[in-house]
C-alpha cells in the first residue's frame, strides 16, 4: 500500500529473489506436476491482477473476464491455424491475441461501462455467455468440437518448462503494470471513480476515458494469457476456455487478497490456488466446492477489504494491546 513505501525495500528484494528462484526451478528437474501447478498459480496471478485494474481500482466488478481469456485463446489458435505458425510464432501470436481481446474490450466497454454496480456485473456475465454460445455455434472456429493445436515437438518436461517461463514473465509484467498504475495519476483517478464517480468527474477526472483504458488493459493481459494457455493445452474448447468458474475464481482471488492494492490479487491467487489444489487432492470434488463457496461468504463478511488489510488490522490491534506482534499470525 502507499503508506508502506519506506520499509518495502526489504520485501522487494525478497520478491526479486523469489522470482529468480522460480525462474530456475524447472531446470532442476522437479516432477512435472509441480511445474504445472506453479504454472496455474502464475496464470491466476496474472488474471487476477489484470482483473484488479478495473475491478479493484475502479470498483467495476466484471464477472465476465473469462471472455477475454477465451477470446485470446481462440485468437492465438486461429492465427496458428491460418498461418501455420511455428512454435515461436505461436507464442508470439499471443500478443496480437491480447490486442484482439483489448479491442473487444473497447467495443464492449464503451456502452457497458456506463452501467454501474450490479448492472455492470450482470452485463459482463451475459457478455461471457454470449461469446461462449456464439463460438460453440460457429463452425468456422471449431464450434462445439473445439480446436486442436500442434504440440511443441519437445519432450514434455522441456515444453512444460518453457510454458512455465513464459507465464512467469507474463505474470511479472502484469503485476508490474498493475503496481505502476496503482502508484500513478491514472490509478488515483480510478480510485476516485470508485469512491464517487460524480465527484470525480467534477474534479476533472475524465471518467469514461479512464474506465475504457483500464478495461482495455485489464482485457489485454488475460488475452495474452489465453493465447499462451491455448498452446499449453494444445486443445481448446468453449467449455474449457470460457468456463464461468474461471471468471468467478478471478473475482474471488482478487477480493480475497484485497482489490485496493496491487499486491492483493497476487496473494489471493497464490493462497486460493493452493487451497483449491489441496482441497481437490484430499476431498471429494463436490465437498471441495462447498467449502469453496463457504469461503466466498466468509471472506465478504469478515474481510470486506481483503486478507492483507485484515492481517494489517490484526497486527495493529495486537500491538496496540500488548506492544508485541506475537499474535499477528
Amino acid at each position: 500500500m502507499r503508506g508502506s513505501r519506506p520499509d518495502s525495500r526489504g520485501p522487494m528484494w525478497f520478491v526479486v529473489i523469489a522470482m529468480l528462484a522460480a525462474a530456475v526451478f524447472p531446470w532442476f528437474g522437479p516432477p512435472v506436476y509441480f511445474i504445472s501447478f506453479l504454472y496455474t498459480v502464475f496464470l491466476y496471478m496474472c488474471l487476477a491482477s489484470a482483473w484488479n485494474m478495473i475491478g479493484g481500482y475502479a470498483g467495476y466488478i466484471s464477472f465476465g473476464h473469462v471472455a477475454f481469456f477465451g477470446i485470446g485463446a481462440y485468437a492465438a489458435a486461429l492465427l496458428m491455424k491460418t498461418f501455420d505458425l511455428s512454435a515461436l510464432g505461436t507464442v508470439l501470436s499471443s500478443i496480437p491475441a491480447g490486442v484482439v481481446a483489448a479491442a473487444v474490450a473497447v467495443i464492449v466497454g464503451y456502452p457497458c461501462l456506463r452501467l454501474r454496480g450490479p448492472y455492470f456485473a450482470v452485463i459482463t456475465l451475459c457478455f461471457a455467455f454470449v461469446v461462449d454460445l456464439a463460438i460453440k455455434n460457429l463452425p468456422i472456429v471449431g464450434g462445439a468440437d473445439g480446436l486442436w493445436l500442434k504440440a511443441m515437438d519437445l519432450p514434455i518436461e522441456i515444453s512444460r518448462a518453457v510454458m512455465f517461463e513464459l507465464m512467469l514473465v507474463l505474470m511479472v509484467v502484469t503485476v508490474l503494470v498493475s503496481a505502476k498504475i496503482s502508484h500513478s495519476r491514472f490509478g488515483a483517478g480510478l480510485r476516485a471513480i470508485k469512491e464517487d464517480e460524480e465527484v470525480a468527474q467534477t474534479m476533472a477526472v475524465n471518467a469514461p476515458w479512464l474506465k475504457i483504458r483500464a478495461f482495455a488493459l485489464s482485457a489485454f493481459f488475460p488475452g495474452i494469457a489465453g493465447g499462451l494457455h491455448a498452446y499449453y493445452l494444445t486443445y481448446i474448447h468453449p467449455d474449457i476456455v470460457f468456463d464461468v468458474n474461471i471468471s468467478i475464481l478471478i473475482v474471488l482471488m482478487a477480493l480475497f487478497g484485497g482489490g485496493g492494492s496491487w499486491l492483493g490479487p497476487v496473494i489471493g491467487a497464490a493462497v486460493l490456488s493452493l487451497v483449491n489444489e489441496l482441497l481437490s487432492t484430499f476431498v471429494k470434488a463436490e465437498l471441495a466446492r462447498i467449502i469453496y463457496g463457504s469461503l466466498f461468504i466468509i471472506v465478504i463478511i469478515f474481510m470486506p477489504n481483503g486478507v492483507i488489510e485484515f492481517l494489517g488490522r490484526l497486527r495493529k490491534a495486537s500491538s496496540a494491546h500488548h506492544g508485541t506482534s506475537e499474535t499477528a499470525t
Binding site: 454496480g117 452485463i123 474471488l252 466446492r289 469461503l295 463478511i301 470486506p304
Partner: protein, 276 residues
Amino acid sequence: MGAVYALLGVGFSLTWGVMRVINISHAAFGLLGAFIAYTVLKRWGIDPVVTMVFTVPFLFVAACLIYRLVISPVARAKEVMVSSMIITFGLAIILENLILLVWGADPRLLTTSYTSKCFVLGSFYFQYSPLIGFAMAMVGVAAIYVFLKMTYTGKAVRAAWQQPDAAQLYGINLKRISMITFGLAVASAGAGGLGMALLYSFEPTSHNLWLVHLFLVVIVGGVGNVLGTAAAGLTLGLITGFSLAVLPYQWVNLVTFGLLMVILLIRPQGLFQSEV
C-alpha cells in the same frame, strides 16, 4: 412457461428492490425445491403440487436462518449489492454441490400421472403439466401481490422499500421486514422451481440458466415491480416460444442473453417504469 418465470422473478425482484440484495442463489433454491419434490414423488408417489405444502414453509424458515447468518452482516454495508452478489454466489455454489452430492449429476424429469396427457379443445391440444404450472404460478404471483397490497406486513415491506429511514421512524423493524422478505422470496422460488420442473427436465446446474432468465424478467419488468415482473415473465415465455419455433434450439439462449444485454444498455430501469 412465461408465468413460471414470473413466479420465480417476483421473489428475486422483491429482494433486489426492498433489500438491495441481489440473490444469485435464488434459482438454486428453486432447484432445491424441485429436487425435493422429485424425491418425494419417487419415494411416496405424492404429487409435486402437494409437496409444495411443506417445501415452501421449509424454504421460508431456511431462508430466514440464512438471512440471519450471512446476509444481515452485510446488509448495512455501503456496497450491499456487490457484496450480497458475491455472498449469494457462494450460496449458489454450495447449494448446487449439495444437490450434486445428494442427487447426482443426472438430468431429472418429474413424471406425474398427468405428464404428457392432454385434453382437446376445438382444434387445440392442451397439455396438463404446463397448465398446472401456469395456474400455480398465477396463484403464487397473485398471492404475493395481495400480500403486499393488503396485509400490514406487506405494506411494511413496501414502505421499507420506498423510504427505509422514514419507515424505521414509524416503528417498522427493518431487520425483521428484510428477513421476512428474504424468506418469502426464497419460498416463492421454491414454488417457481417446482413449476419449472413440471415443464422441463432439470439437473444440478440448471439454475444458472434460470438465473439469466430471472435477470431478464426482473430488469425488463422493473426492479421491485410485481406486476411488471409478471408481465415481463409472460412476454419472455412468448419470445422464447417464438424463437424456438423459428430458430435452431442452440440459438435460443443466445437470443435471450442478447436481449438482456440490449435492454440493460437501453433501459436499465425497466420497460414498465418511467424513472427509478
